[in-house]
Symmetry: C2
Subunit: 266 residues, 2 copies
């Protein structure tokens, strides 16, 4: 039987996108990474800046953007156009044959508009276990292309939707685990999960579910990291081989088979 | 030997994009068209409107937009994001498995920044006979996807460029003629080439090169149509089977094997 192919799903956020030098180095290191790979990027500050220039106020509730129709226009332009296409053009320069995508393209990610409960999030799309068309994404990769997804999806009825980039990365990694041995990498502003949040040298290299319970009991993992790690272990229990949380500028160490960030696995 | 596959390359401009009802019907008719197809769309008025909202002045010289760095940001957002992704989401709703593209995606269209002579057009990309990667586009189509290109290309060095949508449509049709029997369709505000510009019933159904010379001599083809028709006959001499100039809302007649617009061929 042939070896199962490796896939890396790598998510970058504002701290990489907003700094052109960080982005340059990251995309170069991304290109050097062997095997199949998928890039997922968030929005960065530029969407907020452009919305301001256009006189559209950005509303955030619990760190999530309220996506009214005007804001949806802005994020469709900025995430799907400005940021995504500039990332693709740079990846091409380095030799990665990227195709920039939203979930509408290829019907790859179909979401459901979030139902209104206490808060109306507007045009925000939630994912379920049928959202990702892993076969179609696999077909695109096997045809020689590297997907670069922004944080946009659609509802299948003609409506674009705004979906959290971390959620998209995790859903892609889970769904593609049926085709590939998948590692999900979250690029982060810190080196990974730290024993002491103020000490970058206190990096925890490996966490398995048992160690995770110990770290939670000892209150070493602080509140902000809890949902991230809970989601990571959920992804692992759904078939993802490992989740790595690490610093974007250290991605190249992966190529050298050196340890990178905090590795979460079974 | 297997029959050579049919391909339609269809270009739409502002008169379809700027009117949501026209666009709805066009995308529905586009979906009904059998065989391989590629959509190419221009920008419409929305880029100018958004540039104005952002306080960026649009400069046009001889009907061509001067693309300074600020304008390039706007067209990358609006063509590549807002317009392209909304078209893709609507195509998906109708059942066309579209992927929205710029020339940077898949390295499908590599252009050369226009050299500065008397006018500096800014970040405008010109195409040559090596610009289109027909093999790669064919690979994407054979994997089951329908390309929807906007009027953006790249230089292969990380720079996005603005390229005329008519030029992109023609270059795609020529390059893909080596893989497919290709028909290039320009959707137009009139029914096609008219004997009398004020009479929509005076449509000329067929023009071959001999008839074209006659029409030019008789001054029936007016100045504005000359470059369009010259380019069409160049495309035909480079392998495109036929070029059709017709009204977007009559596209469905193609399905019924009825004549549509003005058909130019050898």
């Amino acid at each position: 039987m042939a070896d199962i192919k490796q896939l890396h799903v790598i998510k970058i956020g504002g701290n990489v996108i907003d700094n052109s030098e960080n982005l340059y180095h990251f995309l170069k290191d991304f290109t050097a990474l062997k095997g199949h790979k998928i890039l997922v990027h968030g929005g960065g500050k530029v969407a907020t800046q452009i919305a301001e220039t256009m006189g559209i106020e950005s509303q955030l509730v619990d760190g999530r953007r309220i996506t009214d129709i005007e804001t949806l226009r802005v994020v469709t332009m900025v995430y799907g156009g400005l940021i995504n296409k500039n990332i693709v053009a740079q990846l091409q320069r380095f030799g990665t044959n990227a195709i920039g995508l939203t979930g509408a393209d290829g019907n790859f990610i179909r979401a459901v508009k979030r139902p209104v409960k206490t808060i109306d999030y507007g045009f925000v799309g939630d994912l379920d276990d049928k959202s990702i068309d892993a076969d179609a994404i696999s077909r695109l990769m096997e045809a020689g292309f590297t997907p670069a997804f922004c944080a946009l999806t659609h509802d299948g009825e003609g409506q674009m939707l705004n979906t959290n980039a971390d959620t998209i990365a995790s859903a892609l990694a889970v769904a593609l685990s049926k085709h590939y041995e998948t590692t999900l990498i979250y690029c982060f502003e810190k080196k990974g999960v730290l024993q002491d949040i103020n000490d970058e040298d206190s990096l925890i290299r490996e966490i398995d579910p048992i160690r995770y319970e110990e770290l939670k009991k000892a209150e070493i993992i602080h509140s902000g990291m809890l949902p991230k790690l809970d989601n990571a272990f959920t992804a692992i229990s759904c078939g993802v081989k490992a989740v790595i949380i690490g610093k974007a500028d250290e991605l190249s160490t992966l190529q050298k088979n050196k340890p990178f960030g905090t590795r979460l696995s079974k």
